[in-house]
């Protein structure tokens, strides 16, 4: 006997789909034979079902499987034997690498900043500091490899310096075995044709914007994207709209199109306790980077109907510089933050799960050439030149530091560092990280620093850091540095070849800027009295133009 159904209507759909059992089927057929309403209802449901089935199918765009091909050669699929810990480490490293990609954006804006103040230029070393990295048989500390910066004092600023070097990777083909979207790398730069306009060097520091003295719409870095097809255009615009929607509550600067990257980072990262919050910030940032890279995938364009602003403040710029420094300085044996400000970062694992494919970005030979040839970026050590401390503390934004340091020239590098030094004077530092610090081979200048001495003393005594300081990461060894560099490249590849291309582009631009600054610094008279604005918010403008020939690539749809 058929089982009664309290919802025959529901059975109609199952009947359509052939999912009824024998008893149910008989009952439904009986009802259909007896009831015109049931038959009408069945027709309605059938119509909907057929309508859905007749919807055009959307094939995956060509790049869909690009990631699979982009997986570093030799890396292989994750092994079944890989444990949860390894996977977590991979995730963490992925996030670190992703964040580094964001950092590259900050790098670009940082070094494309217009006319540096005279104080900035005056602080540039007149000659590349390369000799130290050749000293001794043992690998030199990171600071030796990277140009040192003098300790800041009142009215004087220590700024990062760049040494000229050959354009890195500019002529290198895509690590994925091809050019980016058919645009081969050229000798003039990598295949990042979508970035068609860069900052005008005359654009002033955006910090003035916050003070109302500068047009808020004035970009520091322009990225113009010209989609070739209608789909690309819509895609890019949708990404931008997503950004807009997600950042609707962002900074009150009067521009709804402005996206404050600072807020993303600061919101979590500058809280007293680092860790999860910071990881979240990095994750968020990496997501933005991915979106931007996707935008760049849809390159080629012209004018400016839609645009987006991203702000980078000094902390991000430094963070970017540090990470890039470490990538560039992967050959160094000692690392440390190698920066003029403290930065927080998740601990760097001493061992990476895989490094083979990470070398796809550059060959070992090229990396060695970079290391020896002076592709070096700013390196103002934390606290002092030669400081090898492995302490990683997220910067606390402080304008007060500028005031304490003389009010004039503290900002870009000094503000966070001044704050850091202030803390260090009262608090112990985490254990030193670099070999030089570990075996006592410290930079001579370091010995003059009471703060650093206190740091080391405290470290020896194992005094716990104050709550506002972040816990130290494991010592940054050569292995960890290399691992990080590899992981950054790995993450870039995972994110897509465009990220890698973007990083290459950033590096090549940095080198260009380095050469220009080096030339300037040798000619410009010192002017250490000029101020450097600390809140240097660099802005990135992404422009998407409607495709000029929207149907050019779609003749069938013309």
């Amino acid at each position: 006997m058929p089982r009664p159904h309290h919802n025959l209507d529901e059975q109609l759909s199952a009947y359509l789909d052939g999912e009824l059992g024998a008893d149910e089927l008989r009952e439904v057929e009986r009802r259909l034979a007896d009831s015109p309403d049931t038959r009408r209802r069945l027709d309605e449901l059938r119509g909907v079902s057929r309508g859905l089935a007749s919807l055009p199918r959307h094939a995956a765009p060509a790049p869909l499987d690009a990631w699979a091909r982009a997986t570093p050669a030799g890396r292989g699929a994750p092994r079944v034997s890989q444990g949860p810990l390894q996977r977590r480490v991979r995730v963490l490293l992925y996030r670190i690498g992703s964040a580094a990609a964001l950092i590259a954006l900050g790098m670009i804006t940082a070094w494309l900043l217009p006319p540096r103040s005279a104080a900035w230029r005056s602080a540039q070393p007149t000659a590349p500091i390369e000799s130290s990295k050749r000293e001794g048989a043992s690998p030199p500390p990171a600071v030796s490899k990277l140009p040192a910066v003098e300790r800041p004092s009142a009215g004087e600023t220590a700024v990062p310096s760049l040494t000229a070097g050959p354009p890195p990777m500019a002529t290198e083909a895509s690590p994925l075995g091809g050019s980016s979207h058919g645009r081969p790398a050229t000798e003039d730069g990598p295949a990042v044709a979508s970035i068609s306009a860069l900052a005008d060097s005359e654009i002033p520091h955006s910090s003035a914007t916050r003070r109302g003295s500068r047009d808020a719409s004035e970009p520091i870095l322009n990225i113009v994207i010209a989609p070739e097809t209608v789909e690309q255009y819509h895609y890019a615009r949708n990404v931008l709209r997503t950004w807009h929607a997600q950042e609707a509550s962002a900074p009150a600067d009067g521009s709804s199109e402005r996206h404050d990257v600072d807020a993303w980072m600061r919101a979590d990262a500058t809280r007293a306790a680092p860790g999860p919050g910071t990881a979240l910030a990095l994750e968020t940032s990496s997501q933005r980077v991915e979106e931007l890279m996707q935008l760049l995938d849809h390159d080629k364009a012209a004018a400016v109907p839609t645009h987006i602003m991203m702000n980078f403040d000094a902390t991000q710029i430094h963070l970017a510089r540090n990470l890039l420094n470490r990538v560039a300085g992967e050959g160094a044996t000692a690392a440390g933050p190698a920066s003029g400000f403290d930065t927080e970062s998740p601990p760097i694992p001493a061992q990476t799960p895989s490094r083979d494919g990470l070398r796809a970005g550059r060959s070992k030979k090229e990396r060695s050439a970079d290391a020896a040839g002076g592709r070096q970026f700013a390196a103002s050590p934390r606290g002092q030149p030669g400081d090898q401390s492995g302490a990683w503390a997220y910067p606390v934004e402080s304008r007060a530091a500028d005031e304490r340091s003389g009010g004039a020239a503290a900002a870009l590098e000094n503000a966070p560092r001044a704050r850091s030094l202030e803390k260090e004077s009262a608090a112990p530092a985490p254990p030193p990280a670099g070999p030089a610090a570990q075996d006592g081979r410290a930079d001579p200048q370091r010995g003059a620093s009471g703060a650093d001495a206190a740091d080391r003393s405290s470290a020896r005594e194992g005094i716990a850091p104050p709550s506002e300081r972040l816990p130290a990461t494991p010592p940054a060894s050569q292995q960890a540095l290399t691992a990080l560099a590899d992981q950054v490249r790995d993450a870039a590849l995972i994110l897509g070849e465009r990220v890698d291309g973007f990083l290459r582009f950033a590096l090549s631009r940095l080198d260009e800027e380095a050469r220009r600054l080096a030339a300037e610094s040798s000619a410009a008279p010192p002017d250490r009295g000029a101020a450097i604005d600390e809140s240097t918010a660099m802005r990135l403008k992404v422009t998407i133009l409607p495709p000029t020939e929207p149907t050019a690539s779609r003749p069938a749809e013309r």
Binding site: S13, E19, G47, S49, L52, A60, D65, A77, H234, N238
Partner: protein, 188 residues
């Protein structure tokens, strides 16, 4: 590296991929990318998001290979990843992001029309309304009807993908179709 044939079973390809054979996984990607993309697109109604989520789905599948049990269907597992990604994204976003200038699914103006223009327009109009209604459907119903009516999966497989009992699948599909019928009917 062994050559891979399109005739290789999913299980064989998965096993090779788990042993580090990336080409094997590439075959799997090629095998399912269109279906995954279309399913995601029909669930999120946004080409850009569909592209992103499809990429992410395959990436997650690749990363999750070590945890994939051979007794399960790779196809089902992959679809589950994709559907969960869409649902998670939509829950996180809290708002629907629809392409402002998206072409109607009929797309009469962008396609070569071979039959009677009037018929084509009617058909395209209807398809456009169905697609629009589908986009407005609640996520749980949309997922069910997409997997059934567009991907033509059986209830048991849909239940595996959505991780719900078959009875729930049946209910969701019917409810989804009924709601679609109401929405389409309201517009007519």
């Amino acid at each position: 590296m062994p050559a891979h044939s399109s005739n290789d079973s999913d299980g064989a390809l998965v096993a090779r991929a788990q042993e580090g054979d990336r080409a094997a996984f590439g075959v799997l990607v090629g095998r399912y990318q269109d279906r995954i993309f279309n399913t995601i697109y029909r669930m999120c109604h946004n080409h850009a998001d569909a592209l992103d989520l499809s990429q992410t789905a395959f990436l997650k599948a690749y990363q999750g290979l070590p945890t994939f049990a051979a007794r399960a269907s790779f196809f089902t597992w992959l679809f589950r990843i994709a559907v969960n990604l869409v649902l998670t994204q939509r829950r996180g976003r809290g708002a629907t992001m629809t392409e402002l200038d998206a072409r109607a699914d009929g797309g009469a103006s962008l396609r070569v029309v071979h039959d009677d223009p009037a018929v084509a327009i009617d058909r395209d109009d209807r398809l456009g309304r169905i697609a629009a209604a589908l986009a407005r459907l609640d996520d749980e119903y949309r997922a069910a009807v997409v997997l059934k009516d567009i991907e033509d999966l059986d209830y048991a497989t849909i239940g595996e993908i959505l991780d719900v009992p078959v009875g729930t699948v049946k209910s969701r599909i019917h409810r989804g179709r009924s709601l679609l019928r109401e929405m389409i009917g309201d517009e007519e």
